[in-house]
Subunit: 246 residues, 2 copies
DNA sequence: CTTGCACAAATTGTTAACAATATGAGCAGT
DNA sequence: ACTGCTCATATTGTTAACAATTTGTGCAAG
């Protein structure tokens, strides 16, 4: 995430301030997260314009702050910026969605091998603890939280391998996946992913490297198959036929 | 790259303007590239302070522009930003360098398989044409250009696979590699990489998937071995001993 | 010789006003 | 109806002045 997150923990009279849990967030990151979440949860629909003045007023900050945040969101492909025409919530194309999933297969597939090598008892505990979180999320029937928790599992695998460069890539891919899922999700299917994730953990425990790789790739295929990723066939008929006639 | 690069090609009286080759660069990207290049070519050494006013004057733009560019450079890990204390040229640690190369092995190793599948005649031509560029760069004895061209080869492989998400990741990794190489390069060795790259192309031509993967991993190990990546052992002796004494 | 303090200088962070640009409505001409 | 035009409006882009912060220096006290 481009927005710096390094405001010091605020201490008041010897006691940590009330917003301690969010203490590591600069105002910029806080706004970044709010907008990002609003988009991922589809309260802000793809294509919606994001007007600086409005956001500035809503969040009670100056326009430059908003500008800054929008830049960050744009770099993470969550909004698109048009010179002199402002920002819109990104509208990922089908092509883009497929590329993101292809990239995930590439990276997470390769990562799977490393995970087997890197997982120790402590890591296993973290993984199993995370499954509990996923179960709780699914029970709550809060789709947004479900998705977040589920994505965190994938980032967690990268964290276990311990390469922060890869972790950053994974985070970025998860953020984009969240947006893509929000947009292309089929309303008729609801994935029960904690089960699949448990299966992955079993394979890690068994040190079944190839099995884990295959299961991971299968898992990603499964997720992708739950989306409606077909190109829209609305040909630009009128103009095209005219031009092909020439 | 976070800085938008989308100024329209300027047309003057029916003829494309003289700066056509750079027409796609906004003033921000131009400055971004200049600073980035100065760092990669070690004209700006790691740790050097980058003072907004100075840069603004040098490039003849306002401070806000510089601020914007510094933000982009920071996100690409080429400079580090300290709240209220300005920007410095990044000083990649040995740990960071190793992580970047580990990430490269992960991604480029996995990419190698895809490359074999994705390479057609046209792609082969591009690859071979690029080797010529590398040869020319090496002849010129311009170390900076040599490095650039060499890195472009790796990005080119990603381009051939055709996944723009992966291409972006690779570009980022190459930029960081360039900086890392610039900093940790051993002055006594000069890599003659076009030969190794030619070997990779041969393997692609032979459709030797596993061979290519192995060769690529070996290549990356080789590059890394040409750097002086040992942790500096200058223990914080004084303080540490005092504390361990307690 | 070190520590602590106050103050000055350099630098970054923020704001509000202004300039430039794009968008859409209205309206005339065909 | 459709095109082309002008102008008002909304919105973004830029600037310059101001506020806040950090850093370094000098000086006095221990």
């Amino acid at each position: 995430m481009a927005v710096a997150a390094n405001r010091k923990t605020r201490v008041v009279g010897g006691k940590v301030a009330a917003d301690r849990v969010k203490a590591s967030e600069s105002p910029e990151t806080a706004i970044y997260n709010k907008i990002h979440r609003a988009i991922a949860e589809r309260r802000l629909l793809p294509g919606s314009r994001l007007i600086e003045d409005q956001l500035a007023e809503v969040f009670g900050v100056s326009r430059m702050r908003i500008r800054w945040v929008l830049q960050s969101l744009a770099r993470d492909k969550v909004v698109t910026l048009h010179r002199n025409r402002g920002a819109c919530v990104a509208e990922p194309t089908v092509k883009e969605a497929k590329e993101v999933f292809a990239a995930r297969r590439l990276i997470e597939g390769a990562l799977a091998r490393e995970v087997v090598r890197a997982t120790d008892d402590k890591a296993l505990k973290r993984l199993k603890a995370h499954i509990k979180k996923e179960v709780a999320s699914e029970k709550s029937h809060d789709r947004a939280m479900e998705l977040r928790t589920s994505h965190e599992f994938h980032t967690l695998l990268a964290e276990i391998v311990g390469n922060s460069v890869v972790v950053d890539f994974l985070r970025e891919l998860m953020a984009r996946s969240a947006l893509i899922t929000a947009i292309f999700e089929r309303p008729d299917i609801s994935v029960c992913s904690h089960f699949t994730h448990s299966r992955l953990i079993e394979l890690i425990e068994k040190r079944d490297e190839q099995g884990l790789v295959d299961a991971m790739l299968g898992h990603l295929d499964e997720i992708e198959s739950y989306l409606t990723l077909y190109e829209k066939e609305d040909q630009p008929v009128d103009i095209k036929t005219i031009f092909s006639g020439l």
